[in-house]
């Protein structure tokens, strides 16, 4: 199991457009990626409803987890995505 921690870079937090960009990227990895807030239950990172309901705000640290071939590389790319201010792009 590969895991990464990252602080949300998007100024509006992880909802609206940033959430859909992240979910599309997580789906594209082909791996069962999960995302969790600190102390919270992990949710399916491929679920827009789950990710939006997570309500992760700007600066909040989330944990990404994945298993399978290429999990480390997949998580690294998702981390760099979340670090950016997706909303400003």
């Amino acid at each position: 199991m590969a895991t990464r921690e990252v602080a949300i870079g998007s100024s509006v937090g992880l909802h609206a457009r940033p959430a859909s960009i992240f979910v599309q990227a997580a789906t594209a990895t082909g791996l069962p990626v999960t995302i969790a807030k600190q102390g919270g239950n992990p949710v399916d990172a491929r679920s827009i409803l789950g990710v939006m309901a997570l309500g992760a705000k700007n600066g909040e640290v989330v944990t990404l987890s994945a298993e399978g071939d290429g999990a480390d590389a997949a998580l690294d790319s998702l981390v760099s995505l979340l670090e950016r201010d997706l909303d400003a792009e």
């Binding site: 949710v43 827009i48 409803l49």
Partner: protein
């Protein structure tokens, strides 16, 4: 079943007559109460997944043809329909033995409850989610997806009520008239129909029982509907329409009473496109430019440059005519992704309008800077006002900021009864006021504008509302500062006479309503208007107030209503 040749009545909200075949907007389907439980969860799961895929594909196809406003909404819906988390939640319900559409409904409701508890932006997404649910349930039941069908021939549209997204796609070529069984005079349906000049009636009980395709005639002025009208009835409506057109064609130019007392006739607009359309019409300017459209349905605030460009375009369209801009009126009921103050129990009484401007001073400063830039570029007759002012202190606070930006005229909306009662104080700080009669009615009567069942309390003829307006006008007279009206009441040709009599100096309305109001004012002297205002205020209720004013008005008025 409603009988043919019978009549129905409702509340007329957009004048004019129309005859055409009835088209009914399918209401959202409900899971059948007697739905059999699921025995083969795997088969049901596969059927649900296929259906969700079809719904997602359908929304994606619509998004491809949609405009910039509707596109992200439809794309978000497609993504929700394709969500593996939603499919998983439905599976859980199916495995528990729930019937197939009951399972879909229950799973979506769980997400809705979660989003509603998060409040603000997330709560707003509930509408999108319920739309996905309704489409999925309809398909599983073998029905057409709900919503406005594509109109191929000119028709009369009937619905429980129309959502803003549904009304946005209507055109005057194919939609001859609108009838809703719910909704109220200040609902989205009513406002949009008036803007487009489509005859419309709300609160018409029984209209949804009329068979699709039946010929229906409606008179949006008096609120009367004739099912399968006879030739004689159609002729009478056509004659009425001709008399109305003749009366309307008589006048042009500035609004004034018969004895020459000026009442400026202005347009309510919401977008730059509205401004271009309204500018070529016979109006004296803009009495209400709702600036919200620049802010809603986007993830970040518009930049100063973007706002400057839009305001400049609007000001240029009107040349030397006055333009009154209302600063951002958003809040908990119209949440902004970038200014979410969280869940509020009573959004209409919460941090909306200027109260949001106080918390998010950056948004207000940017908007005023953009208005100042547009003013410098055009030197237009620009008036700027704040929504939801309640006290003299708020008015003073806003006036100081606006004047510091070098803007020529600053005013306030009077929507809160407190501001009307203390209008001398409030108007001592600013140059003008504009009465938002829809919200002023809502707050005076403590009745939610969106609650159709309370439409009687929200009737703009309520004597208490007229009293409050009289208070506001009194403060205007004592300070010498003009008080206008920019709510729906200003567009009613009969009520316009009462408002003129109460001392209002301008009336702002949907441009399609200006002609009738101009004609109405030109038929009466100011003293008559003042007598009508006194008689309306002396009435025991809204119905009596309207009747007494009709009895005092010129008979030609009956064809304008």
């Amino acid at each position: 079943m409603t009988e043919l040749h019978s009549t129905l009545s409702g509340i007329g909200v957009s004048a004019g007559v129309a005859v055409g075949p009835l088209v009914i907007v399918s209401p959202p389907p409900l899971p059948p109460a007697d739905e059999p439980p699921t025995t083969d969860a795997a088969a049901a799961s596969s059927k649900v997944r296929d259906t969700l895929k079809a719904v997602a594909d359908g929304l994606q196809a619509k998004a491809a043809n949609a405009d910039a406003h509707a596109k992200p909404i439809l794309e978000a819906g497609a993504m929700m329909a394709g969500d593996p988390g939603l499919a998983g939640a439905i599976d859980t319900q199916l495995q528990a033995g729930k019937g197939i559409t009951t399972a879909v409904s229950a799973a979506v409701d769980e997400y809705c409850a979660m989003f509603e508890s998060l409040g603000g932006y997330m709560a707003e997404r509930v509408t999108d989610l319920k739309d996905v649910r309704d489409r999925t349930v309809a398909r599983l039941l073998g029905q057409a997806e709900p919503g406005v069908p594509a109109l191929t021939t000119p028709s009369i549209l009937a619905a429980v009520d129309l959502a803003p997204a549904e009304t946005a796609t209507l055109s005057v070529e194919t939609c001859l008239g609108i009838i809703t069984s719910a909704g109220g005079p200040t609902s989205h349906t009513a406002i949009l129909a008036a803007q487009l000049g489509i005859p419309a009636i709300v609160q018409a009980a029984g209209i949804l029982d009329v068979p699709v395709g039946t010929s229906v005639a409606l008179d949006g002025g008096v609120g009367e509907i004739i099912i399968d009208p006879s030739q004689a009835e159609q002729d009478e409506l056509a004659a009425r329409k001709a008399r109305r057109e003749k009366a309307l064609a008589a006048g042009s130019g500035k609004g004034m009473t018969r004895d020459g007392h000026p009442i400026a006739l202005l347009a309510n607009i919401g977008t730059a496109a509205d401004a271009r359309k309204a500018a070529v019409q016979d109006v004296e300017g803009v009495g209400l430019f709702r600036s919200e459209f620049l802010f809603l349905d986007r993830d970040t605030a518009p930049t100063v440059d973007e706002q400057t460009a839009t305001y400049t375009e609007v000001l240029q369209a009107f040349g030397d005519r006055k333009v009154v801009v209302r600063t951002l009126d958003a809040g908990a009921d119209k949440p902004l992704a970038f200014a979410d103050l969280g869940h509020e129990e009573n959004p209409a009484l919460g941090r909306r309008g200027i109260r949001l401007g106080v918390v998010r001073r950056d948004l207000l400063d940017d908007q005023l800077q953009a208005l100042a830039n547009a003013y410098q570029a055009t030197k237009a007759d620009l008036w700027v006002m704040a929504p939801m002012i309640a006290t003299r202190q708020e008015a003073a606070w806003f006036a100081e900021i606006v004047r510091a930006k070098g803007l020529p005229r600053v005013g306030v909306m009077i929507e809160v009864p407190a501001a009307a009662l203390r209008s001398f104080d409030v108007l001592s700080e600013v140059d003008f006021a504009s009465l938002g009669t829809n919200d002023l009615g809502q707050y005076t009567m403590a009745a939610d504008r969106m609650e159709g069942a309370l439409s009687e309390l929200l009737n703009p003829w309520q004597p208490a509302l007229l009293d409050i307006i009289a208070y506001a006008c009194d403060g205007g007279a004592k300070t010498g500062h003009p008080v206008g009206v920019c709510g729906e009441a200003g567009g009613d040709p009969l009520l316009a006479l009462v408002l003129a009599g109460l001392g209002v100096s301008s009336l702002s309305m949907a441009p399609s309503k200006v002609r009738a109001v101009r004609t109405s004012l030109a038929l009466h002297d100011l003293t008559q208007c003042q007598q009508m205002a006194a008689a309306a205020r002396a009435s025991v209720g809204p119905k009596e107030a309207r009747e007494v004013v009709i009895s005092m008005a010129d008979p030609v008025m009956l064809d304008l209503l």
